[in-house]
Protein backbone atom coordinates (compact mmCIF):
# COMPACT_ATOMS: atom_id res chain seq x y z
CA UNK A 1 0.00 0.00 0.00
CA UNK A 2 1.24 3.47 -0.81
CA UNK A 3 -0.51 5.11 2.12
CA UNK A 4 1.53 6.19 5.11
CA UNK A 5 0.69 4.87 8.54
CA UNK A 6 -1.00 8.12 9.54
CA UNK A 7 -3.64 7.82 6.89
CA UNK A 8 -3.95 4.08 7.17
CA UNK A 9 -7.50 3.06 7.95
CA UNK A 10 -8.18 -0.50 9.10
CA UNK A 11 -10.68 -2.76 7.40
CA UNK A 12 -12.85 -4.49 9.93
CA UNK A 13 -15.25 -7.30 9.12
CA UNK A 14 -18.18 -7.54 11.50
CA UNK A 15 -20.12 -10.80 11.55
CA UNK A 16 -23.38 -9.98 13.25
CA UNK A 17 -26.68 -11.55 14.15
CA UNK A 18 -29.71 -10.30 12.27
CA UNK A 19 -31.98 -10.12 15.31
CA UNK A 20 -29.88 -8.06 17.66
CA UNK A 21 -26.62 -6.46 16.60
CA UNK A 22 -27.78 -5.75 13.05
CA UNK A 23 -30.90 -4.08 14.43
CA UNK A 24 -28.69 -2.33 16.97
CA UNK A 25 -26.65 -0.93 14.10
CA UNK A 26 -29.90 0.24 12.46
CA UNK A 27 -30.90 1.95 15.65
CA UNK A 28 -27.52 3.64 15.86
CA UNK A 29 -28.12 4.94 12.34
CA UNK A 30 -31.68 6.10 13.01
CA UNK A 31 -30.47 7.82 16.16
CA UNK A 32 -27.82 9.57 14.05
CA UNK A 33 -24.98 8.30 16.17
CA UNK A 34 -21.56 8.70 14.65
CA UNK A 35 -19.15 5.81 14.42
CA UNK A 36 -16.10 5.12 12.26
CA UNK A 37 -16.82 3.87 8.74
CA UNK A 38 -14.24 1.09 8.99
CA UNK A 39 -16.59 -1.81 9.55
CA UNK A 40 -18.25 -3.93 6.91
CA UNK A 41 -21.26 -5.63 8.44
CA UNK A 42 -22.11 -9.14 7.36
CA UNK A 43 -25.56 -10.13 8.50
CA UNK A 44 -26.20 -13.70 9.60
CA UNK A 45 -29.35 -15.29 11.02
CA UNK A 46 -27.81 -15.95 14.45
CA UNK A 47 -24.41 -15.96 16.08
CA UNK A 48 -24.83 -19.74 16.09
CA UNK A 49 -24.73 -19.56 12.29
CA UNK A 50 -21.30 -17.95 12.32
CA UNK A 51 -19.01 -20.66 11.12
CA UNK A 52 -15.71 -20.08 12.93
CA UNK A 53 -14.06 -20.55 9.54
CA UNK A 54 -15.59 -17.21 8.46
CA UNK A 55 -13.38 -15.52 11.01
CA UNK A 56 -10.29 -17.36 9.83
CA UNK A 57 -11.12 -16.67 6.18
CA UNK A 58 -11.69 -12.97 6.86
CA UNK A 59 -8.24 -12.77 8.42
CA UNK A 60 -6.74 -14.74 5.55
CA UNK A 61 -8.20 -12.35 2.99
CA UNK A 62 -6.88 -9.24 4.62
CA UNK A 63 -9.28 -8.08 7.32
CA UNK A 64 -7.32 -6.09 9.88
CA UNK A 65 -9.84 -7.00 12.51
CA UNK A 66 -12.86 -9.24 12.88
CA UNK A 67 -15.73 -8.33 15.16
CA UNK A 68 -18.32 -10.93 16.05
CA UNK A 69 -21.51 -9.91 17.78
CA UNK A 70 -24.76 -11.61 18.69
CA UNK A 71 -27.64 -11.44 21.12
CA UNK A 72 -26.90 -11.39 24.83
CA UNK A 73 -26.91 -14.82 26.47
CA UNK A 74 -30.49 -15.73 27.21
CA UNK A 75 -31.84 -13.51 24.42
CA UNK A 76 -31.04 -15.55 21.34
CA UNK A 77 -33.92 -15.78 18.88
CA UNK A 78 -33.22 -19.48 18.58
CA UNK A 79 -32.81 -19.86 22.33
CA UNK A 80 -29.33 -21.33 22.57
CA UNK A 81 -27.54 -20.46 19.31
CA UNK A 82 -25.33 -17.93 21.04
CA UNK A 83 -24.55 -20.25 23.96
CA UNK A 84 -23.22 -22.88 21.61
CA UNK A 85 -21.43 -20.20 19.59
CA UNK A 86 -19.83 -18.84 22.74
CA UNK A 87 -17.95 -22.09 23.27
CA UNK A 88 -16.77 -22.21 19.67
CA UNK A 89 -15.58 -18.63 19.91
CA UNK A 90 -13.80 -19.23 23.20
CA UNK A 91 -11.83 -22.11 21.68
CA UNK A 92 -11.09 -20.23 18.47
CA UNK A 93 -10.15 -16.96 20.12
CA UNK A 94 -7.70 -18.67 22.47
CA UNK A 95 -6.32 -20.80 19.70
CA UNK A 96 -5.73 -17.91 17.31
CA UNK A 97 -3.95 -16.01 20.02
CA UNK A 98 -1.94 -19.07 20.93
CA UNK A 99 -0.56 -19.39 17.39
CA UNK A 100 0.39 -15.73 17.51
CA UNK A 101 -2.53 -13.74 16.08
CA UNK A 102 -2.73 -10.51 18.10
CA UNK A 103 -5.43 -10.66 20.77
CA UNK A 104 -7.21 -7.53 19.48
CA UNK A 105 -7.60 -8.79 15.93
CA UNK A 106 -10.60 -10.86 16.87
CA UNK A 107 -13.19 -9.35 19.14
CA UNK A 108 -16.41 -10.88 20.41
CA UNK A 109 -19.27 -9.04 22.02
CA UNK A 110 -23.01 -8.98 22.58
CA UNK A 111 -25.16 -6.06 21.37
CA UNK A 112 -28.95 -6.15 21.54
CA UNK A 113 -31.42 -4.47 19.18
CA UNK A 114 -32.04 -1.68 21.69
CA UNK A 115 -28.37 -0.92 22.24
CA UNK A 116 -27.72 1.48 19.36
CA UNK A 117 -25.40 3.51 21.55
CA UNK A 118 -23.49 0.42 22.63
CA UNK A 119 -23.07 -0.54 19.01
CA UNK A 120 -21.55 2.85 18.20
CA UNK A 121 -19.23 2.64 21.20
CA UNK A 122 -18.15 -0.89 20.29
CA UNK A 123 -17.26 0.20 16.77
CA UNK A 124 -15.41 3.25 18.13
CA UNK A 125 -13.31 1.20 20.49
CA UNK A 126 -12.73 -1.75 18.22
CA UNK A 127 -11.57 0.56 15.46
CA UNK A 128 -9.19 2.29 17.86
CA UNK A 129 -7.82 -1.05 19.07
CA UNK A 130 -7.23 -2.35 15.55
CA UNK A 131 -5.71 0.97 14.49
CA UNK A 132 -3.28 0.68 17.35
CA UNK A 133 -2.23 -2.75 16.12
CA UNK A 134 -1.53 -1.55 12.60
CA UNK A 135 -2.19 -3.50 9.41
CA UNK A 136 -2.63 -7.26 9.76
CA UNK A 137 0.37 -9.29 8.63
CA UNK A 138 -0.35 -12.81 9.87
CA UNK A 139 -2.34 -15.56 8.17
CA UNK A 140 -2.77 -13.27 5.15
CA UNK A 141 -2.72 -14.75 1.71
CA UNK A 142 -0.42 -12.92 -0.65
CA UNK A 143 0.37 -14.10 -4.14
Amino acid sequence: MSQTTEEWEPKIVALVCNWCTYAGADLAGISRLQYPPNVRLIRLPCSGRINPFYIVKALQHGADGVLVSGCHPGECHYISGNLIARRKFAFLNNFLNYIGIEADRTIFTWVSASEGDKFARVIDEVTAKVKALGPATRLIKTD
Binding site: P52, F53, V56, K57, Q60, P73, G74, S80, L83, I84, R86, R87, K88, F89, A90, F91, L92, N93, N94, F95, L96, N97, Y98, I99, G100, I101, E102, A103, I107, F108, T109, W110, K118, R121, V122, D124, E125, V126, R138, L139, I140, K141, T142, D143
Partner: protein, 335 residues
Protein backbone atom coordinates in the same frame (compact mmCIF):
# COMPACT_ATOMS: atom_id res chain seq x y z
CA UNK B 1 4.98 -64.04 22.64
CA UNK B 2 4.09 -62.12 25.78
CA UNK B 3 1.08 -62.76 28.01
CA UNK B 4 -0.93 -59.98 26.46
CA UNK B 5 -0.42 -61.38 22.98
CA UNK B 6 -1.43 -64.81 24.20
CA UNK B 7 -4.58 -63.38 25.73
CA UNK B 8 -5.62 -61.32 22.73
CA UNK B 9 -4.99 -64.20 20.35
CA UNK B 10 -7.11 -66.54 22.46
CA UNK B 11 -9.89 -64.01 22.78
CA UNK B 12 -9.80 -63.12 19.07
CA UNK B 13 -9.95 -66.81 18.18
CA UNK B 14 -12.88 -67.38 20.50
CA UNK B 15 -14.79 -64.38 19.12
CA UNK B 16 -14.21 -65.42 15.52
CA UNK B 17 -14.83 -69.13 16.04
CA UNK B 18 -18.04 -68.51 17.92
CA UNK B 19 -19.12 -66.02 15.27
CA UNK B 20 -19.42 -63.24 17.80
CA UNK B 21 -17.51 -60.89 15.52
CA UNK B 22 -17.01 -60.72 11.76
CA UNK B 23 -13.65 -59.08 11.90
CA UNK B 24 -10.88 -58.40 14.36
CA UNK B 25 -8.69 -55.37 13.81
CA UNK B 26 -5.29 -55.51 15.45
CA UNK B 27 -1.57 -55.15 14.89
CA UNK B 28 0.80 -57.48 13.04
CA UNK B 29 4.56 -57.44 12.58
CA UNK B 30 5.55 -54.77 10.08
CA UNK B 31 7.82 -55.22 7.12
CA UNK B 32 10.43 -52.90 8.63
CA UNK B 33 12.22 -53.37 11.94
CA UNK B 34 10.52 -51.84 14.99
CA UNK B 35 7.33 -51.30 13.02
CA UNK B 36 3.92 -52.90 13.12
CA UNK B 37 1.04 -52.63 10.69
CA UNK B 38 -2.72 -52.90 11.12
CA UNK B 39 -4.15 -56.32 10.36
CA UNK B 40 -7.71 -57.33 9.56
CA UNK B 41 -8.52 -60.86 10.61
CA UNK B 42 -11.71 -62.65 9.70
CA UNK B 43 -10.83 -66.25 10.51
CA UNK B 44 -9.83 -67.90 13.76
CA UNK B 45 -6.93 -69.59 11.96
CA UNK B 46 -5.16 -66.29 11.44
CA UNK B 47 -5.04 -64.99 14.98
CA UNK B 48 -1.38 -65.90 15.38
CA UNK B 49 -0.59 -62.83 13.31
CA UNK B 50 -1.68 -60.61 16.18
CA UNK B 51 1.04 -58.87 18.14
CA UNK B 52 1.12 -56.19 20.78
CA UNK B 53 4.28 -54.37 21.78
CA UNK B 54 5.85 -50.92 22.01
CA UNK B 55 5.99 -50.64 18.25
CA UNK B 56 2.19 -50.49 17.92
CA UNK B 57 1.64 -46.88 16.97
CA UNK B 58 -1.58 -46.55 15.04
CA UNK B 59 -4.84 -45.69 16.68
CA UNK B 60 -6.98 -48.48 15.22
CA UNK B 61 -10.31 -46.75 15.86
CA UNK B 62 -10.20 -45.13 12.43
CA UNK B 63 -10.36 -48.59 10.82
CA UNK B 64 -13.30 -49.59 13.00
CA UNK B 65 -15.11 -46.52 11.77
CA UNK B 66 -14.22 -47.22 8.16
CA UNK B 67 -15.29 -50.87 8.31
CA UNK B 68 -18.63 -50.09 9.93
CA UNK B 69 -19.40 -47.07 7.74
CA UNK B 70 -18.73 -49.13 4.66
CA UNK B 71 -21.02 -51.83 5.99
CA UNK B 72 -23.78 -49.32 6.83
CA UNK B 73 -23.60 -47.90 3.33
CA UNK B 74 -23.74 -51.33 1.75
CA UNK B 75 -26.80 -52.15 3.89
CA UNK B 76 -28.71 -49.08 2.75
CA UNK B 77 -29.94 -50.86 -0.35
CA UNK B 78 -30.81 -54.11 1.42
CA UNK B 79 -34.44 -54.99 2.22
CA UNK B 80 -35.22 -54.53 5.92
CA UNK B 81 -35.75 -58.25 6.51
CA UNK B 82 -32.38 -59.08 4.95
CA UNK B 83 -30.32 -56.49 6.81
CA UNK B 84 -27.33 -57.88 8.62
CA UNK B 85 -25.37 -56.53 11.48
CA UNK B 86 -21.61 -56.53 11.30
CA UNK B 87 -19.62 -56.72 14.50
CA UNK B 88 -16.04 -55.55 14.61
CA UNK B 89 -13.59 -56.57 17.29
CA UNK B 90 -10.70 -54.24 17.94
CA UNK B 91 -7.51 -54.38 19.95
CA UNK B 92 -7.84 -51.19 21.95
CA UNK B 93 -5.39 -49.47 24.23
CA UNK B 94 -6.25 -46.29 26.16
CA UNK B 95 -6.30 -43.75 23.36
CA UNK B 96 -7.97 -46.14 20.91
CA UNK B 97 -10.74 -46.78 23.43
CA UNK B 98 -11.20 -43.04 23.88
CA UNK B 99 -11.62 -42.65 20.13
CA UNK B 100 -14.22 -45.42 20.18
CA UNK B 101 -16.07 -43.50 22.91
CA UNK B 102 -16.05 -40.41 20.70
CA UNK B 103 -17.50 -42.41 17.80
CA UNK B 104 -20.20 -43.77 20.08
CA UNK B 105 -21.02 -40.32 21.42
CA UNK B 106 -21.22 -39.00 17.90
CA UNK B 107 -23.53 -41.88 16.99
CA UNK B 108 -21.31 -43.31 14.30
CA UNK B 109 -22.21 -46.87 15.24
CA UNK B 110 -23.85 -48.76 18.07
CA UNK B 111 -22.10 -50.17 21.10
CA UNK B 112 -23.19 -53.67 20.07
CA UNK B 113 -21.44 -53.30 16.73
CA UNK B 114 -18.04 -53.34 18.40
CA UNK B 115 -16.25 -55.71 20.72
CA UNK B 116 -13.43 -54.00 22.57
CA UNK B 117 -10.45 -56.20 23.34
CA UNK B 118 -8.67 -54.01 25.84
CA UNK B 119 -4.90 -54.00 26.18
CA UNK B 120 -2.78 -52.14 28.70
CA UNK B 121 -0.28 -49.81 27.07
CA UNK B 122 2.72 -48.00 28.43
CA UNK B 123 3.59 -46.19 25.24
CA UNK B 124 4.99 -46.62 21.77
CA UNK B 125 8.28 -45.75 20.16
CA UNK B 126 8.36 -42.44 18.35
CA UNK B 127 9.99 -42.70 14.94
CA UNK B 128 11.31 -39.15 15.10
CA UNK B 129 13.00 -39.67 18.46
CA UNK B 130 14.43 -42.95 17.27
CA UNK B 131 15.83 -41.32 14.14
CA UNK B 132 17.38 -38.61 16.28
CA UNK B 133 19.08 -41.14 18.54
CA UNK B 134 20.44 -43.10 15.61
CA UNK B 135 21.52 -40.03 13.61
CA UNK B 136 18.98 -40.79 10.94
CA UNK B 137 20.82 -43.93 9.82
CA UNK B 138 18.69 -46.65 8.29
CA UNK B 139 17.56 -49.14 10.89
CA UNK B 140 18.30 -52.68 9.71
CA UNK B 141 17.17 -54.57 12.77
CA UNK B 142 15.76 -53.85 16.19
CA UNK B 143 14.16 -55.40 19.20
CA UNK B 144 12.60 -54.37 22.47
CA UNK B 145 13.33 -56.27 25.62
CA UNK B 146 11.70 -54.90 28.72
CA UNK B 147 13.04 -51.38 29.12
CA UNK B 148 15.80 -51.69 26.55
CA UNK B 149 15.55 -51.02 22.86
CA UNK B 150 18.32 -52.44 20.72
CA UNK B 151 18.72 -50.77 17.37
CA UNK B 152 21.03 -51.94 14.67
CA UNK B 153 22.03 -49.59 11.89
CA UNK B 154 24.77 -49.67 9.30
CA UNK B 155 26.86 -47.67 11.78
CA UNK B 156 26.59 -50.24 14.55
CA UNK B 157 24.35 -51.34 17.39
CA UNK B 158 22.88 -48.92 19.92
CA UNK B 159 21.13 -49.77 23.14
CA UNK B 160 18.55 -47.23 24.26
CA UNK B 161 16.27 -46.86 27.25
CA UNK B 162 12.66 -47.29 26.19
CA UNK B 163 11.64 -44.05 27.96
CA UNK B 164 14.11 -42.07 25.85
CA UNK B 165 12.30 -42.94 22.65
CA UNK B 166 8.66 -43.12 23.75
CA UNK B 167 6.37 -40.65 22.00
CA UNK B 168 5.71 -37.38 23.81
CA UNK B 169 2.01 -38.10 24.13
CA UNK B 170 2.73 -41.49 25.74
CA UNK B 171 4.99 -39.92 28.33
CA UNK B 172 2.13 -37.77 29.62
CA UNK B 173 -0.65 -40.32 29.13
CA UNK B 174 -2.55 -41.46 32.21
CA UNK B 175 -4.94 -43.68 30.24
CA UNK B 176 -2.72 -46.72 30.28
CA UNK B 177 -5.76 -48.98 30.50
CA UNK B 178 -8.70 -48.67 28.13
CA UNK B 179 -11.69 -46.60 29.25
CA UNK B 180 -14.14 -49.16 27.85
CA UNK B 181 -13.59 -52.82 27.15
CA UNK B 182 -15.45 -56.09 26.80
CA UNK B 183 -12.40 -58.18 27.49
CA UNK B 184 -9.24 -57.20 29.26
CA UNK B 185 -5.94 -58.75 28.21
CA UNK B 186 -4.24 -57.40 31.30
CA UNK B 187 -3.89 -54.31 33.42
CA UNK B 188 -1.03 -52.07 34.44
CA UNK B 189 -0.83 -49.27 36.97
CA UNK B 190 -1.38 -45.82 35.46
CA UNK B 191 1.81 -43.96 34.66
CA UNK B 192 2.91 -41.37 37.15
CA UNK B 193 3.24 -38.85 34.39
CA UNK B 194 4.69 -35.44 33.86
CA UNK B 195 2.41 -32.40 33.47
CA UNK B 196 0.78 -32.88 30.10
CA UNK B 197 0.42 -29.14 29.52
CA UNK B 198 3.93 -28.05 30.48
CA UNK B 199 4.81 -27.62 26.82
CA UNK B 200 1.69 -25.57 26.16
CA UNK B 201 2.38 -23.24 29.09
CA UNK B 202 5.94 -22.79 27.97
CA UNK B 203 4.83 -21.91 24.45
CA UNK B 204 2.08 -19.58 25.64
CA UNK B 205 4.65 -17.66 27.66
CA UNK B 206 6.52 -16.66 24.49
CA UNK B 207 5.67 -13.38 22.80
CA UNK B 208 3.00 -13.22 20.10
CA UNK B 209 5.56 -12.79 17.37
CA UNK B 210 7.70 -15.66 18.62
CA UNK B 211 4.63 -17.87 18.65
CA UNK B 212 3.64 -16.79 15.18
CA UNK B 213 7.16 -17.38 13.87
CA UNK B 214 7.14 -20.90 15.25
CA UNK B 215 3.65 -21.68 13.98
CA UNK B 216 4.27 -20.34 10.51
CA UNK B 217 7.67 -22.03 10.29
CA UNK B 218 6.14 -25.38 11.21
CA UNK B 219 3.24 -24.93 8.79
CA UNK B 220 5.58 -23.95 5.98
CA UNK B 221 6.83 -27.52 6.01
CA UNK B 222 3.37 -28.90 5.36
CA UNK B 223 2.82 -30.31 1.89
CA UNK B 224 -0.87 -30.88 2.50
CA UNK B 225 -0.67 -34.60 1.90
CA UNK B 226 -3.57 -34.88 4.41
CA UNK B 227 -2.02 -37.94 6.04
CA UNK B 228 -2.65 -36.37 9.46
CA UNK B 229 -6.31 -36.03 8.64
CA UNK B 230 -6.62 -39.47 7.10
CA UNK B 231 -5.15 -41.27 10.09
CA UNK B 232 -7.12 -39.35 12.70
CA UNK B 233 -10.06 -41.30 14.17
CA UNK B 234 -11.86 -38.05 14.87
CA UNK B 235 -11.56 -36.93 11.21
CA UNK B 236 -14.06 -39.22 9.61
CA UNK B 237 -16.25 -36.92 7.49
CA UNK B 238 -16.93 -38.36 4.06
CA UNK B 239 -16.33 -34.96 2.51
CA UNK B 240 -13.83 -32.66 4.14
CA UNK B 241 -13.66 -28.86 4.08
CA UNK B 242 -10.07 -29.20 2.93
CA UNK B 243 -11.22 -30.50 -0.44
CA UNK B 244 -14.36 -28.47 -0.83
CA UNK B 245 -14.38 -26.09 -3.76
CA UNK B 246 -17.60 -24.20 -3.09
CA UNK B 247 -16.65 -22.41 -0.95
CA UNK B 248 -12.99 -23.04 -1.32
CA UNK B 249 -11.92 -23.00 2.32
CA UNK B 250 -8.40 -24.08 1.53
CA UNK B 251 -6.96 -22.84 -1.73
CA UNK B 252 -5.37 -25.35 -4.04
CA UNK B 253 -1.71 -24.55 -4.63
CA UNK B 254 1.25 -24.01 -2.45
CA UNK B 255 0.49 -20.74 -0.71
CA UNK B 256 1.79 -20.88 2.89
CA UNK B 257 -1.33 -19.11 4.10
CA UNK B 258 -3.44 -22.02 2.90
CA UNK B 259 -1.29 -24.43 4.91
CA UNK B 260 -1.88 -22.30 7.98
CA UNK B 261 -5.58 -22.04 7.37
CA UNK B 262 -5.85 -25.78 6.72
CA UNK B 263 -4.24 -26.65 10.02
CA UNK B 264 -6.08 -23.99 12.02
CA UNK B 265 -9.34 -25.41 10.75
CA UNK B 266 -8.38 -29.05 11.09
CA UNK B 267 -7.16 -28.53 14.61
CA UNK B 268 -10.16 -26.45 15.53
CA UNK B 269 -12.27 -29.46 14.57
CA UNK B 270 -10.35 -31.35 17.24
CA UNK B 271 -11.58 -29.15 20.08
CA UNK B 272 -12.80 -31.58 22.72
CA UNK B 273 -12.28 -34.47 20.29
CA UNK B 274 -8.54 -35.07 20.15
CA UNK B 275 -7.49 -37.99 22.34
CA UNK B 276 -3.78 -37.21 22.02
CA UNK B 277 -3.05 -40.55 20.38
CA UNK B 278 -0.20 -38.99 18.44
CA UNK B 279 -1.14 -40.75 15.21
CA UNK B 280 -1.10 -37.52 13.21
CA UNK B 281 2.35 -36.65 14.52
CA UNK B 282 3.53 -40.16 13.76
CA UNK B 283 2.39 -40.13 10.13
CA UNK B 284 3.52 -36.62 9.27
CA UNK B 285 6.39 -37.06 6.86
CA UNK B 286 7.55 -33.53 7.55
CA UNK B 287 7.84 -34.03 11.30
CA UNK B 288 5.57 -31.06 12.02
CA UNK B 289 5.02 -30.33 15.70
CA UNK B 290 1.24 -30.72 15.57
CA UNK B 291 0.93 -31.77 19.17
CA UNK B 292 2.08 -28.42 20.50
CA UNK B 293 -1.05 -26.87 19.01
CA UNK B 294 -3.52 -29.70 19.57
CA UNK B 295 -2.66 -29.74 23.25
CA UNK B 296 -3.78 -26.13 23.58
CA UNK B 297 -7.30 -27.15 22.61
CA UNK B 298 -7.12 -30.02 25.07
CA UNK B 299 -6.03 -27.64 27.80
CA UNK B 300 -8.88 -25.23 27.08
CA UNK B 301 -11.32 -28.11 27.01
CA UNK B 302 -10.21 -29.05 30.48
CA UNK B 303 -9.85 -25.56 31.94
CA UNK B 304 -12.97 -24.01 30.46
CA UNK B 305 -15.37 -26.92 30.43
CA UNK B 306 -13.89 -29.56 32.70
CA UNK B 307 -14.03 -32.07 29.88
CA UNK B 308 -11.56 -34.63 28.61
CA UNK B 309 -12.06 -36.08 25.14
CA UNK B 310 -13.47 -39.59 25.00
CA UNK B 311 -13.05 -40.43 28.66
CA UNK B 312 -16.69 -40.74 29.68
CA UNK B 313 -19.42 -42.06 27.46
CA UNK B 314 -22.15 -40.00 29.10
CA UNK B 315 -20.28 -36.70 29.04
CA UNK B 316 -21.18 -34.75 25.91
CA UNK B 317 -18.43 -33.10 23.92
CA UNK B 318 -17.92 -29.41 24.74
CA UNK B 319 -19.12 -28.14 21.39
CA UNK B 320 -22.28 -30.23 21.52
CA UNK B 321 -23.33 -28.76 24.84
CA UNK B 322 -23.24 -25.54 26.86
CA UNK B 323 -23.94 -24.10 30.26
CA UNK B 324 -25.68 -20.83 30.79
CA UNK B 325 -22.86 -19.65 33.01
CA UNK B 326 -19.97 -20.70 30.77
CA UNK B 327 -16.96 -18.47 31.27
CA UNK B 328 -17.02 -15.51 28.92
CA UNK B 329 -14.06 -13.46 30.01
CA UNK B 330 -13.12 -13.00 26.36
CA UNK B 331 -16.32 -11.09 25.63
CA UNK B 332 -15.53 -7.44 24.99
CA UNK B 333 -17.44 -4.72 26.82
CA UNK B 334 -16.98 -1.08 25.69
CA UNK B 335 -16.22 1.44 28.42
Amino acid sequence: MNDIEKNIREEAKRLLDENLVDLVIGYQEGTLPLQTAPVFISSGDEVDKLVFNSCCKQNLAIYVHAALKQHHQAQERVKPEDKKQKVVGVIARGCTSRSLVIHLQEQQYLREEIVVIGVPCSGYIDKNKLAEKTDGAEIVAGSVDGDTVTVETAKGTTKLKLDEVLAGNCLTCAYNNPVISDFSAGEIPARDCADEFAEVDEFAALSESERWDYFSREMNKCMRCFACRNICPSCYCASCFAEQSQPEWVGAGINPSDNQVFQVMRMFHMAGRCVDCGSCVEVCAEGIDLRKFLKKLDQDDQNLYGHKAGVKLDEPSPLASFRENDRETFIFEPE
